[in-house]
C-alpha cells in the first residue's frame, strides 16, 4: 500500500470514528440508561433562549433538563412514551404561567417526536417558535 493510500485510509477511518461519536451523542435515548446531550437554541419572535438540553431514559420515562450556559435551570420535564405525554416537573418562575406551560408541553412532545425520527429541528408554526438542537461533543 502506498503512503497516499495509507494516509487516505487513516483519514477515512478517523472520519468514520468521528461520525460514530456524533451519532452516539445525537441518538435519542430509547433504552434504560441511555443519555443524549444537545446545545439548544430556541428562537422566539422577539428574543431567544440558548443553553443545554440533557435527556436520560430511566426505564419508564425520558427525563430532560434544559438550562442556560451559566448552568441556571430553565425547566425539567419527563416524556412518557407509552402515553405520548410530557409532564413539566419544574419551570423557571418567569415561564411558570398556565398558558406557557400548556404550550411548552405540546412543543416539547413534538420536539421529542422529531428527535425520535433523527431530526434536530422543530418549528411551532402557530407561535413562530423554532427549536434547534445540536449534539454536544464531550
Amino acid at each position: 500500500m502506498s503512503p497516499f493510500h495509507r494516509t487516505f485510509s487513516l483519514w477515512i477511518s478517523l472520519l468514520f470514528l468521528a461520525c460514530q461519536g456524533l451519532w452516539a451523542q445525537a441518538a435519542f435515548p430509547s433504552a434504560e440508561g441511555e443519555r443524549a446531550r444537545y446545545a439548544v437554541y430556541i428562537e422566539l419572535p422577539r428574543s431567544y433562549i440558548s443553553g443545554v438540553c440533557i435527556l436520560l431514559h430511566d426505564g419508564t420515562d425520558v427525563k430532560g433538563s434544559i438550562f442556560n450556559e451559566f448552568g441556571i435551570s430553565a425547566m425539567d420535564f419527563a416524556y412518557r412514551p407509552q402515553k405520548d405525554k410530557v409532564k413539566l416537573l419544574s419551570v423557571q418562575k418567569m415561564l411558570d404561567k398556565w398558558y406557557i406551560r400548556k404550550r411548552l408541553k405540546r412543543d416539547l412532545r413534538e420536539l421529542v417526536h422529531v428527535l425520535q425520527q433523527g431530526g434536530t429541528r422543530y418549528v411551532d408554526e402557530k407561535y413562530h417558535i423554532t427549536f434547534q438542537l445540536t449534539p454536544l461533543q464531550e
Binding site: R37, Y41, V52, S65, E69, G71, S90, L136
Partner: protein, 207 residues
C-alpha cells in the same frame, strides 16, 4: 450566689464569643473589600460543573474569565460549547455560534442584575450587598466561606443560596457555588488566577 455567678459567666462567655466572631467576620470583610479595591485586573481559567439532581448527572464546561476595574468582565465558554458574555460598563454582548446581541443593561432589569451579580461575585464585592443578601462568613481550613441568602424576591426565585469560597492567601474568590430551588447545583472553580496583569481592551469590545 453561686447560681448567679454561673449565669453571669455563661452570659459573659456567650457575649464575648459572639463579639469575637463578629469582629473576625468584620475583619474578613475588610480584607476582601481591600483586596477587591486594589485589584485592577484579574484573569483565570474556569471549570463549571452543573450537578443535575433529577438526572443524577453532571455537565462540565470550561472557559476563560477576564476582569478589569471599571465594570469590565469577559466570561467565555470554550468547551463543550462556545458562548461569550462581555460586560463593558452599561452594555452587554452575548455571543454564540448563531448570533451576537448587544443589550443595554439599563433597559433590561434582568440583565442588569445578572451582570452585577457576576461581577460582584468574581471580585467578592457582593459581600457588601446587604440589601440583596444576608451573608454569613466562616473560616474553613485555608479558605473563607461566605454563604449568601438572597433577600430579594426575583433572586429568591432563582437561587436558594450562593456560596463563595475565598482563597485566604490571595483574598480572592476561588469557587462559586450556585444552589437552585430544584436541587441543582452549579460549581464554578476559578483556576490559575492572575491579578493585576495587563489585559487588552479588545477583549472587552462590545460594539
Amino acid at each position: 450566689m453561686f447560681k448567679v455567678r454561673l449565669i453571669f459567666y455563661i452570659l459573659y462567655f456567650i457575649f464575648a464569643t459572639s463579639s469575637a466572631l463578629a469582629q473576625s467576620e468584620v475583619q474578613i470583610r475588610q480584607q476582601i473589600n481591600q483586596a477587591a479595591s486594589q485589584m485592577k485586573s484579574m484573569q483565570c481559567d474556569f471549570v463549571q460543573t452543573k450537578h443535575l439532581k433529577m438526572l443524577n448527572d453532571k455537565m462540565v464546561a470550561k472557559g476563560k474569565m477576564y476582569y478589569r476595574q471599571g465594570n469590565q468582565l469577559r466570561w467565555e465558554y470554550v468547551t463543550p460549547y462556545a458562548y461569550t458574555f462581555i460586560l463593558n460598563n452599561n452594555k452587554v454582548l452575548l455571543k454564540n455560534s448563531r448570533r451576537n446581541d448587544v443589550i443595554d443593561v439599563n433597559q433590561n432589569k434582568v440583565f442588569k442584575e445578572i451582570a452585577r451579580i457576576m461581577m460582584n461575585s468574581v471580585v467578592g464585592k457582593c459581600l457588601a450587598d446587604e440589601k440583596d443578601f444576608k451573608t454569613q462568613i466562616t473560616t474553613v481550613g485555608q479558605e473563607w466561606v461566605a454563604t449568601l441568602q438572597p433577600l430579594r424576591k426575583d433572586m429568591k426565585q432563582m437561587f436558594q443560596q450562593i456560596i463563595l469560597h475565598f482563597d485566604r492567601k490571595q483574598s480572592v474568590v476561588a469557587v462559586v457555588e450556585l444552589l437552585e430551588k430544584n436541587g441543582d447545583r452549579t460549581v464554578i472553580e476559578l483556576k490559575d488566577i492572575r491579578k493585576n496583569e495587563p489585559i487588552s481592551s479588545d477583549l472587552f469590545t462590545v460594539d
